[in-house]
């Protein structure tokens, strides 16, 4: 069992997300993360899905996804040279005083930005791979995380290769 990152190119149509997500859960897959948005082609969207499974299970679910009429292409990016990113917004307790400065220092090290400053809280924005965000979250926990929002992972191949429709 390992984590697989799948890039799924789909028609930009109503219901397509529920077709894809429904198929994964119907076939017994837990979706660990999912991100969807428009892409370079105006009539298509790209869904990045992270699932856990052994290679043959994942191969089967990729084939099933390819059978959906609205799915144009599915690529497994796992083990290929790719850039993976998540974005997180973290609201941390920060009473005016010592902790504020410490939090700002940590943000600096992680190249996170402070996007909101309240009288009792700070909101940090951080982008990176899953490990980096996990690490930041862990460090901030001691100050009290009031709320944490993470996007699903998005991923793109390095170099000239792309995940595109055959035509």
């Amino acid at each position: 069992m390992k984590s697989h990152t799948l890039s799924v190119l789909v028609e930009n149509r109503a219901g397509v997300l529920s077709r894809v997500a429904g198929m994964f859960s119907r076939r017994g897959f837990n979706i660990e993360s999912l991100a969807v948005g428009t892409c370079e082609e105006p009539e298509m969207s790209r869904i990045t899905i992270v699932v856990n499974g052994d290679d043959s299970q994942v191969e089967q679910v990729i084939k099933q996804a390819n059978k959906l009429i609205d799915v144009i292409k599915v690529s497994d990016l796992t083990g290929r040279e790719s850039v993976e990113r998540e974005l997180a917004l973290i609201k941390v307790a920060a009473e005016a005083g010592t902790s504020r400065a410490e939090i700002m220092q940590i943000a600096d090290i992680f190249r996170a930005q402070i996007v909101d400053v309240g009288s009792k809280t700070l909101v940090l924005q951080v982008a990176g791979d899953t490990g980096k965000i996990d690490a930041l979250e862990k460090l901030l926990r001691q100050y009290g995380i009031k709320e944490l929002v993470r996007t699903g992972k998005i991923a793109i191949l390095r170099g000239a290769k792309t995940v595109k429709s055959a035509k």
């Binding site: 028609e11 529920s18 009429i69």
Partner: protein, 558 residues
Amino acid sequence: MKTGAKILIEALQREGVDTIFGYPGGSVLPIYDELYDSSIRHILVRHEQAAAHAADGYARASGRVGVCLATSGPGACNLVTGIATAYMDSVPIVALTGQVPTGMLGNDAFQESDITGITMPITKHNYLVKDASDVGRVVREAFYIARTGRPGPVLIDLPKDISTDQVYAETPIPDSISLRGYQPTYRGHVRQIDKALDMIAQAERPLIYAGGGVIHSNGSQELVEFAERTAIPVTTTLMGLGCIPGDHPLNLGMLGMHGTQYANYAVTECDLLIGVGVRFDDRVTGKIDTFAPNATIVHIDIDPAEISKNKRVDIPIVGDVKTVLQTMLERMQKAGRTENWLNRIATWKQNHPLRYRDDDCLRPQYIIQQLSDLLRGDGIIVSEVGQNQMWTALYYCFKKPRTWITSGGLGTMGYGFPAAMGVHYARPDEPVFDIAGDGSFQMNIQELGTVAHNRIPVKVVVLNNMYLGMVRQWQELFYNRRYAYTELPPVDFVKIADAYGVDGIRVDAKDGVREALEAALEADGPFVLDFRIEREENVFPMVPAGAAINEMIGVHQP
């Protein structure tokens, strides 16, 4: 300027639709009004489930797309079992449903149900039309998707305002369709084909395992030619019966849970298994690790997702069965030597034939044999689900493809009778028999109204054991004969038929069988035969659930 409903009917006509099975209601009133004046024949069923099964029977018997129509909400929901049945057996149907007007969608309006959501897992694709000018294109695409690649059901949900809206400019309908997310592969990879042919030339104990895909692709002739040229024996799945004549010397009959002994032994002993249009279903393989344990596996199928889904395949060939077999026949240079293997199989056949106690009692196997003898390969046999289905699969000699119509994947009781109605409209010159159990027949018995109303000459053969026989058999064998809720009190089916204006005969003894079958065949209209069979007759051979397929019970060891 045309309404959406008018565009719909014209689009259906363009697809060659001659018959629709349906049931009206509020949201489809505009469609019914258009249908009323059209050249398309509409058969009013008595329950929407029957409309879906009839469309399915029509499609299986003809190879064309079957069409059913229902109103929104309860009407659409009643189609669900029929759509799922078609999906599991890869049958091309288009289901049209009414829907509440677009402005009311999502408001729990009267008779609203999210039928595209409900049928997402049981359709090949579905549409909710939100613009009347799309109707023509959607119908075109739906029929294309239903009948091409691995066939399957497609649903089109039509809100009422889409049917009534006036369309000024229709979107032009393309002659040929290309969908970038749907590009089926029809030609097999030549290198893979050559590899398979090499294996065939070397194999000592090869076996063809043929299924419904052969019939869907109209590849039966090629299959038989291939088997004959290579001298490889053929076993078929429930869905594949008829793709090779039942009395062909290379035919081993059905394999799997209720397969013949010699077919199951052949699978276990073969060194090369060539799966053609099959999906290694659990009712076929039994315990998967012991299925064809010594064989190299070649798998020909149009659906890449079936390759190595249940059983690791050594040589996959993705493509249309007929096309792939043609290429194989063209490229074949030499066949293997199979005499020894065929001799071995002949010995199995001789030592372990299909058998039942042929005494003075009225036994179902005898009835099926008599019917087989009477029709001699003409006519189309439909079945319900349970023992009736298995006895027919084992004891009827199917000679041609598309003459055996049954719900395999879903195993839907109540399928047979309405499907038989659809078969009649697809092949009006063929006699159509539905082999039923008393339980299954009562699941759609209301269709006696439809066959009476339209004089549809479907003959129902009820193998009446006053039990849910197949379930009772499992209770007898695996639950200490505790017949929990499987006994059905006697029903006088002849009287019920009579109430609908349908003729029938009750038969209690063996000597009345032939005459009764002949009477049914000769009658112009529908007919019901109520055979009071031995109540506790079982279907054998049988592989208990989870066992290896060569571990059969109820078999005779010489």
